[in-house]
Amino acid sequence: MEVPILKQGDFLIATVQAALTDADLLHLRTALVQHVVRSRSRGVIVDVTSLDVMDSFASRTLRDLDHMIRLRGAETVIVGIQPEVAFAMVQLGLRLEDVATALDLEEGLAYLNQKFKSST
């Protein structure tokens, strides 16, 4: 299932609509890493509100995505992790270290805006 990537001002927003296979995740990662410079975006938001499972592959892919985006000169925020998913993740030891997270899309946008306001 393809994840739509929308451009919103300076940021790219990828909203996950349904459960993703490993291949979908890798595809999303590649697409975002390509897109971010092409669209001259400064931030990427990945919305995982509709995911009710986050396994080790998914969290590793998201972490890698974060690192790659940073190398391409932009910031990533993961938004919309459900409370149950968060609890299950920490129990499995999936901590998404160093990756910025926010409650929902609105918070993610606020976070990025804040970040760029203070850096400029």
Binding site: I81, V90, T101, A102, G108
Partner: protein, 304 residues
């Protein structure tokens, strides 16, 4: 007993059976005699027993009169149990007694102690009565001892069961005391934790907090553990997990009120709290949270 049959095997069986029956009959006769003796000397033995209880410094939580009153009813119940051979009444009485004396801080050893004392007092009076007739004394004791042991057992078990029931009830009450997740300011939650945290409660706490973060759209959470007396590795790990899970929801957690003991325990256990934001007390925690949220609290100038 009729022994007309010439078959030797059957005779033997009948003899044995007769022996058992005779024995049982003898026991009940002896117990009746015993009960009569205990009834006759009720006042004296009861007083002797109460005196020994005071002497042994048992039931110190109760006044002398109360001890005597309880001693009287225990004595009567005891004699009745010996007489009827049924223990239901005694059991019910033991439960009732335990219910009354547990809240007053009576310990298990005291209850067992007084029952054993009564056993001792009664045995001594039997020794005194039958000292001339050693065989009779032996038979009386044969009848008395098993019954007395069972009585002591019943009372002690009744007490312990009641105690356990109270403990279970209290545990449940503690568990039901839900830990509130409170919003102090827009986007700022506090979670004061009080009492013992077991894995089940820790899980419940985490779930409540995560749900609270979502519904209140919180950005900062202050977890105050001033009221937590002790913390082991499991609970410390739970705390770390809670902090991590909150972060995944985009909230920063500040932990306040770590006591010196808990701080030492955590360092000794080697739990990694490096990523945890800790502040000395709840006030400091709330102040830091306000800074994180961009609030600034300024005292109103006097007169303005």
């Amino acid at each position: 007993m009729a022994r007309k049959n010439s078959n030797p095997g059957e005779t033997q069986v009948q003899e044995e059976l007769g022996g058992v029956l005779q024995h049982a009959e003898a026991t009940s006769v002896l117990l009746r005699e015993l009960v009569a003796h205990l009834r006759q000397n009720r006042t004296q033995l009861r007083e002797e027993w109460a005196r020994r209880i005071t002497e042994a410094q048992l039931l110190t939580a109760m006044s002398k009169e109360e001890v005597f009153a309880e001693a009287t009813s225990v004595y009567d119940n005891y004699v009745e149990a010996l007489e009827t051979g049924t223990f239901e009444a005694l059991q019910a009485y033991a439960r009732n007694l335990s219910e009354r004396i547990i809240p007053r801080g009576v310990e298990t050893h005291e209850v067992v102690g007084i029952v054993l004392l009564l056993r001792d007092v009664l045995a001594r009076s039997l020794f005194a009565k039958y000292q001339a007739d050693f065989t009779k004394l032996n038979r009386i004791l044969d009848a008395y001892e098993p019954a007395a042991n069972r009585i002591a057992n019943t009372v002690a078990v009744g007490f312990v069961q009641e105690r356990e029931r109270v403990i279970r009830q209290q545990q449940e009450a503690i568990r039901e005391l839900s830990t509130p997740v409170l919003q102090v300011r827009e986007r700022l939650l506090i979670l004061p934790i009080i009492g013992v945290i077991d894995p089940q409660r820790a899980r419940q706490l985490t779930e409540q907090l995560l749900r609270g973060i979502r519904t209140n759209r919180a950005k900062v959470v202050v977890i105050d553990i001033t009221g937590v007396a002790a913390m082991d590795a499991t609970v410390a790990n739970h705390l770390v997990q809670t902090v991590e899970a909150s972060r995944l929801l985009g909230a920063t957690v500040i932990v306040t009120g770590l006591s010196p003991e808990i701080a030492q325990t955590i360092v000794n256990i080697g739990v990694d709290l490096g990523k945890m934001n800790t502040v000395g007390d709840l006030q400091g925690g709330i102040e830091q949270a306000e800074r994180l949220l961009g609030y600034k609290v300024v005292p109103q100038a006097a007169g303005s």
